[in-house]
C-alpha cells in the first residue's frame, strides 16, 4: 500500500514538473527574445536596438484551433510594464506583436495588425516607433484616450509567422496618464486551398 502511495506521489510530481513548466518556459522564452524567423526573416522581423533589455513585461497570448483540425492561430502582444522608461522628455515602452500559425497546412498569407493606445492630454502624442504612426490628444488639459493608427505586416512567402518589434513613445511623457498604455494585435492567417481567413486578437 505504502509503495502504491509513493508511486502515485512520484507520478504526480513528474506530471507537475513537466507539463506546467514546459508551458511556462515556452511563454517565457517567447517574451524574452524578439521573435525572428531566421528562415524567412523580413524587415519587420529585425529587432530594434531597444529590445534586448530584459525588463518587467506584460503579455497576452491567445489562440484557437482552426475548425476542421487545420492547426491553430495565435496572436501575441507584449510590452514592458509600468510607466515606461524616460528618454529625454519622452516615455517609452518596448513592444512586440506577432501572428503564429501552428499546423501542417501551407500558409498562403499571415499578417499581424497592431495599434497602441493611452490616455493623454495637452496635445501629447503616442507613436509606435515607426513613421506616420502617431495619434495626438486634444489641446485640453483633460485626459482623453489616444489611439495610434493601425500598422500592418504580412508574410506571403509560406512563412508561418509574422512579427514586429519596436517601442511606443509618449511625447511629452509628463502628459501621459499613468497605467493607461496598451498594445492590441490581430493575427490573421489564410491557408492554401481554403478561402476563409482566420483571426484572433490579443492585447497587453
Amino acid at each position: 500500500m505504502k509503495k502504491r502511495i509513493i508511486s502515485l506521489l512520484l507520478i504526480a510530481g513528474v506530471m507537475c514538473t513537466t507539463a506546467v513548466p514546459a508551458f511556462a518556459a515556452d511563454a517565457d522564452s517567447a517574451r524574452r527574445q524578439p521573435y525572428v524567423d531566421s528562415e524567412n526573416a523580413t524587415l519587420a522581423d529585425a529587432p530594434s536596438n531597444n529590445t534586448m533589455v530584459i525588463m518587467p513585461r506584460t503579455a497576452q497570448e491567445k489562440s484557437y484551433t482552426i475548425p476542421g483540425g487545420k492547426g491553430s492561430i495565435t496572436s501575441n502582444a507584449w510590452r514592458t510594464t509600468g510607466n515606461g522608461t524616460w528618454s529625454g522628455n519622452t516615455l517609452q515602452w518596448n513592444y512586440q506583436v506577432s501572428a503564429v500559425y501552428s499546423g501542417t497546412y501551407t500558409v498562403s498569407k499571415i499578417r499581424t495588425t497592431w495599434q497602441g493606445s493611452a490616455s493623454m492630454r495637452n496635445s501629447a502624442s503616442l507613436t509606435l516607433g515607426i513613421s506616420n504612426s502617431g495619434g495626438s490628444a486634444g489641446a485640453s488639459s483633460s485626459w482623453s484616450y489616444v489611439s495610434t493608427v493601425s500598422k500592418y505586416w504580412e508574410n506571403s512567402n509560406g512563412a508561418k509567422n509574422s512579427s514586429y518589434t519596436s517601442n511606443m513613445i509618449a511625447t511629452p511623457g509628463v502628459d501621459y496618464r499613468s497605467g493607461t498604455i496598451a498594445i492590441a494585435n490581430e493575427a490573421k492567417v489564410t491557408l492554401s486551398g481554403d478561402p476563409k481567413p482566420y483571426a484572433i486578437n490579443a492585447s497587453a
Binding site: K2, C16, K62, S72, T81, E154, G158, P195
Partner: protein, 319 residues
C-alpha cells in the same frame, strides 16, 4: 515512511507553487482553446449603416465593408469583430459576400452608394465567396461543412448569379464540383480558374465557358506555384508567390494586385507598416503614383479611379 510521504508531498506542492508564481510574475494570459463560438450571435455580424452624407466603401486590405464620411474623409463605422469579413469581386463593386469564418451564416450582398440588401442567405454549415465576374454574371465558390467545421471538399461547387435576377437559384457548374477552386478570372466568355492540389502544394489551371454549366473543364496547365490569375489586353496572366509575369516582364507581387488599363495597381504594407497604394506603368515599369493610408479605390472607367484613404479622396488618371 510517513517522513518520506511528507517529503514527497512537500516537493510536489513546492513545484506547483513555483510554477504558478512564474506565470503570475510575468503577468501572462495564455489561452489555447477551440474557438468559443457560442457567444457569437448573428446580431454581432452587423454591417454599418450609413448616416446622412456617408457612403459605403470597402477596406480592401482588412476585407470589411465600412461607412465613410466623404467630408471628413475618415471611416465613420466598421465592424471590427475578428473573423467577420466581406469579400469582393475584382473590378466590380456591386456584389459582395459576407460571413463569419467560424460560425458561417454567409450572405450575398448587393451594395449601393449608401444602402445594401442581402440577396441570398446561407446556413451555419455553408459559405460563399466571390470567384470572378463578367458583366452581369457573378461566379461564386460555395462550400459545405460538418458540425465541427470540417469542409466537405468533395461538395465544393462553383455557381453563378445573374445581377438583378429575380431568381434565388444559383446554377451550378456540374463538372467542377469537388475541385479545390480558390481563384479565377473571366476573359471574354471564358472562365479561367485554379484548383489547389494539396499533395504537391501546387495549382492546376483550367478553363470553361462562362455559360457552359454542363461542360467538362479543360485542363490547361499543372503545378502552378500560385493561384492568382489576372487579365491584360485579353491575355491570361499568371503569377508565382512573389511575381506576376506580364508581356515577358516580371513585377513584384503585393498583397492585393489588379491590372487596370496599362497599369499594375497594388495595395500592401510598406516597410513602415502603412497600407500603400501604388500604380506601375506596364509600358516601362515606372511606379508613377503612390500614396499611404489607402482604404479603397473605385474604377470609374478604364482611365480614372477614385482613391479613398484616411484623410483624402483623390482622383487618379490611370496610364
Amino acid at each position: 515512511m510517513k517522513k518520506v510521504v511528507r517529503f514527497l508531498l512537500l516537493i510536489t506542492a513546492t513545484v506547483v507553487i513555483l510554477t504558478s508564481c512564474n506565470i503570475a510574475a510575468n503577468d501572462t494570459v495564455t489561452n489555447e482553446i477551440a474557438p468559443d463560438v457560442s457567444c457569437i450571435t448573428e446580431d454581432e455580424n452587423w454591417l454599418p449603416i450609413c448616416a446622412d452624407g456617408q457612403i459605403y466603401i470597402y477596406h480592401q486590405y482588412e476585407e470589411k465593408i465600412l461607412s465613410y464620411d466623404p467630408v471628413s474623409m475618415q471611416i465613420a463605422s466598421v465592424n471590427k469583430q475578428p473573423n467577420f469579413y466581406q469579400f469582393c469581386f475584382a473590378k466590380d463593386n456591386r456584389i459582395y459576400t459576407s460571413g463569419h469564418s467560424l460560425t458561417n451564416n454567409y450572405s450575398i450582398i448587393s451594395l449601393h452608394k449608401d444602402s445594401f440588401e442581402k440577396l441570398l442567405e446561407f446556413g451555419a454549415q455553408e459559405s460563399i465567396f466571390p470567384l470572378s465576374s463578367s458583366e452581369d454574371t457573378f461566379i461564386f465558390i460555395h462550400t459545405y461543412y460538418d458540425e465541427d467545421g470540417h469542409e466537405y471538399v468533395e461538395q465544393r461547387e462553383i455557381c453563378q448569379l445573374a445581377y438583378n435576377s429575380a431568381s434565388k437559384e444559383l446554377p451550378v457548374y456540374k463538372n467542377l464540383t469537388g475541385l479545390m477552386i480558390t481563384h479565377g478570372v473571366c476573359i471574354g466568355d471564358i472562365l479561367f480558374f485554379t484548383a489547389y492540389i494539396p499533395s504537391s502544394n501546387t495549382y492546376n489551371l483550367y478553363s470553361i465557358g462562362i455559360g457552359s454549366l454542363s461542360d467538362m473543364p479543360t485542363l490547361l496547365e499543372q503545378e502552378l506555384a500560385a493561384p492568382e490569375l489576372y487579365e491584360y489586353n485579353g491575355e491570361l496572366i499568371k503569377s508565382t508567390q512573389s511575381h506576376i509575369f506580364i508581356n515577358g516582364d516580371d513585377y513584384s507581387k503585393n498583397s492585393i494586385n489588379y491590372i487596370i488599363a496599362n497599369s499594375l495597381i497594388q495595395i500592401g504594407p510598406n516597410e513602415y507598416g502603412d497600407l500603400t497604394f501604388s500604380a506601375t506603368s506596364l509600358f516601362d515599369g515606372e511606379i508613377y503614383y503612390t500614396i499611404d493610408k489607402i482604404i479603397d479605390f473605385r474604377s470609374e472607367d478604364e482611365k480614372t479611379i477614385i482613391l479613398y484613404g484616411e484623410g483624402y479622396i483623390n482622383e487618379l488618371s490611370v496610364r
